[in-house]
């Protein structure tokens, strides 16, 4: 099976998933992102790497935050950015996903940033581009269903590397709704690829996928056990629709058992960092005292996210 995100030379031509990417590419992206951090400090926050290129933000699912960070990243690379809210336009008229892509290719798109509710949608687009011979058009997955959110995974790795330097001595816990989380899947693949020796998943059985052990993850149902001696804690957002139903009885009971409070955080290492992909539900998965506390690195994550997305876009469009 050919990995559709690598070209014949083994270089990244699309970013679809972290799974299957060699550690050298992950490191290349993180290093490139580090070099872009300085751009954001300048008066003129621009480099000309994507000058004359058109980046289309194709958001088939709403997300103001992710779309904005991609837009800022593309603009800092001097690209022309076009935002399309597909929910409200073409597909409502019955146009298929691939029809939309064909039309945008005819408008000389160079890079698609794709967010879609169906797992695998960016793969379908990448395969289609290859089938119609448009190897000059690139795809970056901005979140597909429950499958992957690779730029979030990479910015999480950037954050961990920034604060902890060495991946090979860390104990990392991911807490919450892992079953429905593309962020968790991308983080797990990135952490194991980069050599983190112990990745833990903490949550009730209803929010954990089966066979997590096959991904090299240790499963815990008790926060007090799972957080013990961790260096990094990644909290996940609990979607509203999961709170009261067959998966969980209530947000209150969830918070009592799986919410991150200062007391529970004290079980981790004293210098542990707390991450969250946002947007946060204060009082549901995380206590405000933790979210606003000294160990939280949630806002730096957002800043790093722009540099990481600049790195990804400049690398795929350059290959």
């Amino acid at each position: 099976m050919i990995n559709p995100q690598l070209n014949q030379d083994g270089e990244l031509c699309h970013l679809l998933s972290i799974e299957g990417l060699p550690p050298r590419i992950l490191t290349q992206i993180l290093d490139t992102a580090a070099s872009f951090m300085e751009v954001s400090q300048r008066d003129v926050k621009k480099v000309p790497l994507l000058r004359g290129k058109s980046v289309f933000n194709l958001f088939f699912e709403n997300s103001t935050r992710t779309r904005t960070t991609f837009e800022i990243a593309a603009k800092r690379l001097s690209a022309d950015v076009i935002n399309l809210d597909i929910n409200k336009s073409s597909t409502a008229k019955g146009e298929t996903l691939l029809d939309t892509i064909d039309n945008l290719c005819a408008m000389h798109a160079n890079l698609f940033v794709v967010r879609h509710a169906a797992s695998g949608a960016p793969y379908l687009i990448a395969e289609h581009l290859s089938r119609i011979g448009r190897n000059d058009v690139h795809v970056v997955n901005a979140g597909d269903g429950r499958h992957a959110h690779p730029t979030q995974g990479l910015l999480d790795m950037y954050t961990i590397r920034h604060y902890k330097k060495d991946f090979t001595r860390l104990r990392v816990a991911i807490v919450g709704d892992i079953l429905h989380s593309r962020v968790a899947r991308s983080d797990i693949h990135a952490l194991t690829s980069l050599g983190v020796p112990e990745v833990r998943a903490i949550g009730p059985e209803t929010l954990l996928p089966k066979h997590l052990d096959k991904l090299g993850v240790h499963v815990f149902h008790d926060m007090n056990e799972g957080l013990k001696d961790c260096d990094v804690i990644i909290m996940l957002r609990l979607q509203n629709e999961r709170m009261n139903g067959a998966l969980l009885p209530s947000a209150g009971e969830y918070f009592r058992h799986f919410g991150l409070t200062p007391q529970k955080l004290a079980l981790a290492k004293a210098d542990a960092i707390v991450m969250h992909p946002g947007p946060m539900n204060r009082g549901v998965e995380i206590h405000s005292a933790v979210a606003d506390g000294p160990q939280a690195v949630i806002l730096p994550q957002v800043t790093f996210g722009i540099a990481v997305r600049m790195a990804v876009m400049s690398i795929v469009a350059g290959n």
Binding site: M1, T96, A118, S119, Y123, L124, L215
Partner: protein
């Protein structure tokens, strides 16, 4: 018309014969094997040296969305009888619809059309369809296709009613609640790809319910398209207990697993889903030891139905034209000889149907498949006669090519000279 098919390797799985011989056909039936009957004068002699001559294949599940093209595909695949599930549009729930389908099939004059009547009106699992009327119109048994009967009392009543007429009920065991949101086997691959899972329990719970009702009602049950090792084990136990139960598997499930989804390949989306390697092995063992018959589960779809993200793509594959070569491929991997392999797609389905359609003894209906067991061909959109070009085997080389197909002693398909 008298026909002699000579020099073929005649394999009759029903009578365990396998020898090079001539087959003499007269009046649509087998007149003799080996020596010509007294006074037989052939109007036509077909020399099939190097080819296998066997009973026509019987496919226990084939959808005929565009009936002419699909029946042409059937005979091009050596299939002489197709069992058609009732999930057409509209569902086959009225005698008149069944009558029309049977007549249309006869008019086209290719493969035999054996419809399954809908067990319930609109396949909704609520009100009974007119089973006796459907039977009279030509339905061979009753089914819900892929639709479950959610209401267990409705299922109990349907099986009681069918049992009082001696009708068989064909059910695809899939618990509605555990399968309604799923798109792939709940296993490693679905977890990695972020696809909602269908647990094995969706199949075993449904089988356990159906078997308990079969025990209580005495209804003859055929379970279609098993997908899991645990499902096979339940059927084996029920058979050992003496329940009147049979089952089948799709040939795709004998050869493919969840791993074939690869990077979201929509052609690997099936209902029930492709499961683990362990499940595939158990299905293969069940087919090898005769517990399960093999079918194509032919589901021709339009190109747009698969050009979608995995979870939005429709499940199923076109299959009539690949049933034989895929069965041969499976048999080779399972160390079965040719007569054993052919039994799974001829005598086994005939026994499930209770129809005398799979023999080559004198007097038998001359439904015959003639194929070259060594010829290779590539599956591609251009050489499939089915309207559906949806197949996980596109681009693959398969071994076993149909030379000719006969129904009622008439040549309904002959390979073009090339």
């Amino acid at each position: 018309m008298n026909l002699e098919i000579k020099n073929g390797r005649v394999i009759d799985p029903q009578h365990h014969t396998d020898r090079v011989a001539s087959l003499f056909i007269s009046g649509g039936r087998i007149a003799a094997q080996g020596l010509a009957p007294a006074g037989f004068v052939a109007d036509r002699v077909i020399d099939v040296s190097g080819a296998v001559v066997c009973p026509g294949l019987i496919d226990l599940g084939a959808r005929l969305n565009s009936i002419e093209a699909e029946l042409a595909a059937a005979v091009a695949g050596g299939v002489t009888s197709v069992v058609v599930p009732p999930d057409a549009d509209p569902p086959l729930d009225e005698p008149e619809l069944a009558d029309r389908l049977v007549h249309r099939g006869a008019e086209i004059g290719k493969a035999r059309v054996l419809p399954l009547g809908a067990l319930t009106l609109g396949l909704k699992g609520e009100r009974l369809a007119e089973l006796a009327g459907l039977k009279k119109a030509g339905c061979v048994a009753f089914s819900q296709a892929t639709q479950p009967v959610v209401d267990t009392e409705a299922l109990l009543r349907a099986m009681e009613y069918a049992a009082s007429f001696g009708f068989a009920v064909w059910l695809q065991p899939q618990d509605y609640w555990l399968s309604r949101n799923g798109i792939a086997h709940e296993g490693e691959v679905a977890n990695r790809l972020g696809l909602a899972g269908i647990p094995v329990a969706a199949e075993t719970i449904a089988i356990a319910t159906i078997l308990q009702l079969a025990r209580d009602t005495g209804c003859r049950v055929h379970l279609t398209r098993l997908s899991a090792a645990a499902g096979v084990a339940l059927v084996a136990e029920a058979k050992a207990e003496g329940l009147p139960v049979t089952c089948d598997v799709s040939v795709h499930h004998l050869l493919l697993t969840e791993n074939d989804i690869g990077f979201f390949n929509p052609h690997a989306r099936f209902a029930p889903p492709l499961r683990s390697q362990r499940d595939r092995q158990a299905l293969s063992d069940a087919a090898a030891n005769g517990l399960a018959a093999i079918c194509s589960d032919h589901t021709p779809l339009g190109a747009d139905d698969k050009l979608l993200p995995f979870g939005e793509a429709k499940p199923g594959a076109t299959g009539l034209e690949t049933l034989l070569p895929l069965t041969l491929k499976w048999a080779a991997a399972a160390n079965l000889d040719l007569p054993q392999a052919l039994a799974r797609i001829t005598t086994a389905p005939a026994a499930i149907l209770g129809l005398p359609l799979a023999g080559l003894a004198p007097g038998a209906v001359a439904d015959i498949c003639i194929f070259d067991p060594a010829a290779e061909w590539q599956v591609n959109a251009d050489n499939l006669r089915s309207r559906g070009k949806n197949s996980p085997w596109l681009g693959h080389m398969l071994t076993g090519k149909i030379r000719a197909t006969l129904v009622d002693g008439r040549v309904v398909f002959a390979e073009r000279d090339s």
